[in-house]
Assembly symmetry: D2
Homo-oligomer: 349 residues x 4
């Protein structure tokens, strides 16, 4: 059942059927949450297609909006323009456990890896959930990551779940969100862009929702500085090459701006984008026959990317349940505080 | 006299005394407009300090938000992290004339250039004013550029003036705008960030001003696609090195997002930032004693950069007069269309 | 008639028929030299194909090995991954004149440019020939550039000609050089890589030719520091996309290293690469059917790129005639000083 | 006792006293090797200074020469321009174990990490030692990494030791090598540049040592393609900022070229550089008084960086002992095959 943040008139493009990243055919998402004794964390897995990604990588690119982040896998992704494992999201200190899972899984499927074949490039991105989760306890294990991958499905929960369990967005609870947009080109060809975010950034005083401020909402924290981050994963079925996907992923910064973010110093803001078109068996021929989107057609996709990212973040807030922070304070629910202060800035008359 | 767009509560940081880039001590701005027979264009010059920039370059950096632009000088600026000529803004096809002026001017001041000394790196950025100006006529001459530099002063006009003469912003007239913010660090040290924009981007249907849409405003154009661009120049008196200035300049993308932009395909969106601190006579010693801002203090400057950029664009709109487009249509004034449609998107109840 | 530097055993890959960049089908090169009264300079034009490049751009990429350079056009080239004008090479201060020629020429062929169509991105790269040419005189005019383009042909001279007229390489005369290599993939498909350099870098004491030093050769200059640069243009008929061409162009740094360069501070070392495959009428369809080279096949092209670049630089030296420097000194011919000192470094044991 | 590859006349700059990276005051290196039952691997640790790197990070930068690599930590290093943990080198699949050690070690020293303080950015780089080591066995543990750090000292072994145990360079055994150069500026100020490499790249047929080929040397392997990589770590006591260190690190590509490399497709070639000058207690003041090297003085350091890197690779070969590959073949010693074929390429007469 579709349940996304209500709005009228703010966005321009139509959503896909599920209004999630799974509107891109073949993409699946799985969570595994670890909720116990100080632990409130987990792993979220995004699988670009159902096959073996090492043998059939997807075209991809990344944008480092603010590189205060501890991911693994981006250097090779940017060089080769492809993703060759599932994409795992988790907390900052669990990147190694997730990476090991991806390495072992790839070896299991391709026993020549590291010997006769090249090694494999695990792709893991992270945010710091230390406000809710006891991050120093390293509660995520290799098995947590395996399970998240095994749970991957075309339907998935949003909010405080999986890697998003302990995340905080603009002072509210909320980690995983998703949305999608459709792009119609001339001649009735329709493509989709989906976004999934692991959202853990922003301070309440800066938040703007549909252009309105939240000046009186109870503050969840009084930190002087944002210590969060956001990971944005975009998928499309349009036949973009890696350079084009890089352009797409860079648009996510505009979505953060719309919500009031200024890309804080400590916020590791990283976007990546992949296409499900033009996927081939590795090394199966000297050349591959591909389709490439005409560059000027990118314009409509840029708008779709900004809208999907903005709504995905709002959906992370929309679906979250209140969480108790590690220090005893409460991360409130956005949904129950949603009436914004009425006297939004007046226009000069 | 200070005249900037009225607002209440949208921004958080205090402005400087003039609320322009000239609030950064030593920075001056000059215009020369070319308004005649199809020509509606010009040059705007920004001088980081009053001395010889070739001998005393300023630390600087650039962010290529969307590289659909035809500037000269950015490659060396990014390698060496410095600016060694005035910064000239003009229309797309007048970059060569402006660059020649900068070369000749530098040679005039330093006759060894290109012989015993290194060559000089002219810095010219541009937007396409072809909707108002007959850009193919190449009406800007080397003298136009010289005059703009000669006109540089601590006070300057905004709107449809200098390089901004024929510019269009979200369907309205308006090119040059500026604003500033103050940043107070612990211990009462106060620094400033100023922004000056050459704004020529956006479509009216996408515009959000203080979070409100303009759905019923008369449309100036019905183009399917934005053909504009924006150049953002930031200045600060904080002692940032080139890497830090790069981080500062990258925040401008969030400001574009706040106004509704999605960084359109054809929009050459380029930001640069310079500091007036740590300026030294070139090659005068093996090492220079400098100050460097503590990295975590950057956070407050990031917010200042976003606010100053957002307001600079709105001030470009605020100060513009209506312009007749080259094809006979009219670019309306933003100021006279300022009452937004009231039924902005409602929040769910 | 083919005349290239003799060698045995240093390189591994076969050359193309002409051993120049024109071995890539459709690529043409033209020079116009300006040799008069202190002027010893010019323009060299590289045309990727015979058609209208604005309407049929070629996939391309660039590598900024050392950004101490004053080119125009690279920012957009890197964003869009394509070249849409002829590539012009000239002296540092003549970039504006050449850019204006490219702008006017594109408008002449496409009168909507800057009005209904996007503007055009002129591509001009440069080295400082101030050691031989009176660079401050700005002797290159728009007509020089037009003539170089008009002179473009499948055969062209090398050495001290066109843009290379006043160039210096490792203390010897010599500016323009070229070479090519063939790459044979499985199944007998053969592709080519060509390189053309505008070579103006290096100091004689650092030069290594086929691994041998030139310790006793008369020094042409006693400068403490290299003030030169090198522009490297690669062409291939292999179906590489922009990202792959970026990888290809970055290999040129290894060629500079082989010759003894350490990429000196003031040396603007810039490489670009284009492919003549996958060229389409701009905006003629939503998607284009393309071929893309399998990534692992890039390996052989990397070796080809290094060999072609290294030989192109040596051919610039091989073909040059001695030149009188602007200050009365002589840039000697490499060819007549070619016997290296015998006691090259001995191996131990 | 100093033992480095003999040479005469190939290099120009003086070495430091030890001719290793430890000639930069305060830098220490430690190994821990894992040699047992199919395992032939390990960890090498580089400590920029003796203090707590999280509280006193060193200025740093990185150059991705070829991003076919699986490091962790480079994204944040490039954003913030600093290193805040020891630098660990290991095999490709042991990056997670090493990263976990760095995380736990930093938490142990700074218990607020991830809670009240920001998280920590572990820095681990890698090459694939799968030709000698059973890399799929993941033999490196967190304890291996801890021990390597604990072993750090101003003297260290080179060759097939620590992370270099199972490495192969141009078909010979050899992994860890180091060298240093001194740079004398005007006024008798002397600085040093040191390099340490984890060398695992190149094919024997391509090798050039002091400009000479090795055409008849027994081949260790007949692979069509290099599957190796090289990690280059540079240190200097010159007061370079992050941007300048980036320029320094990019010069390493020229060193690879001198040895015959063409930066093969699968070779993850990554360089980083740090300075031991300008190190401050994090967040201890709004601004720090620093020294900054004059940009034009960088030129001499560029030559030093190329020479130190080239010699470091040769020293990795020089110190290595023959190793049995995992498949039963032998990686020979370079030192015992050192007489090159005499008929190196002749110069034309």
């Amino acid at each position: 059942m579709r349940d996304t943040i209500p709005h009228k008139g703010w966005w321009q493009l139509p959503t896909g059927p599920a209004n999630t990243i799974c509107d891109i055919d073949g993409v699946r998402v799985g969570h595994e949450s670890v909720h116990a004794e100080g632990a409130c964390t987990g792993v979220t897995a995004i699988l670009p297609h159902a096959g073996d990604l090492y043998r059939r990588p997807v075209p991809a690119a990344a944008a480092i909006l603010n590189g205060f982040g501890k991911s693994i896998g981006l250097v090779q992704l940017m060089e080769l323009g492809e993703i060759e494992t599932p994409i795992l999201l988790t907390n900052t200190f669990s990147v190694p456990a997730c990476a090991t899972t991806l390495i072992k899984r790839a070896i299991g499927q391709n026993p020549k890896i590291g010997r006769r074949s090249a090694t494999v490039n695990p792709l893991v991105l992270e945010c710091n959930d230390g406000q809710v989760n006891d991050i120093q306890a390293l509660s995520v294990t290799e098995i947590t990551a395996e399970t998240a991958i095994a749970n991957a499905d075309g339907e998935f929960n949003q909010g405080t779940v999986g890697a998003g369990s302990g995340m905080k967005t603009f002072g509210f609870a909320g980690g995983v969100g998703s949305a999608s947009r459709q792009v119609k080109l001339s001649g009735d060809s329709i493509y989709s862009v989906g976004a999934l975010v692991l959202s853990n950034f922003g301070q309440q005083a800066d938040l703007r929702v549909f252009g309105r401020l939240f000046p009186d909402t109870p503050r969840a924290d009084l930190d002087d500085e944002d210590m969060g981050s956001i990971i944005i994963v975009m998928a499309t079925d349009a036949p973009m090459d890696s350079r084009q996907l890089g352009r797409l992923s860079r648009r996510s910064g505009a979505a953060l701006g719309r919500l009031g973010s200024y890309l804080g110093h400590q916020s590791g803001d990283i976007a990546l984008a992949f296409s499900t078109a033009n996927v081939f068996e590795r090394d199966s021929a000297n050349t591959h026959a591909t389709l490439r989107l005409c560059e000027s057609r990118m314009n409509a996709f840029f708008k779709a990317a900004v809208e999907a990212t903005e709504e995905a973040i709002l959906n992370a807030l929309w679906h979250a349940t209140p969480m108790s922070a590690y220090d005893g304070s409460l991360l409130p629910s956005f949904r129950t505080h949603l009436t914004p202060k009425e006297d939004t800035p007046a226009m000069p008359g």
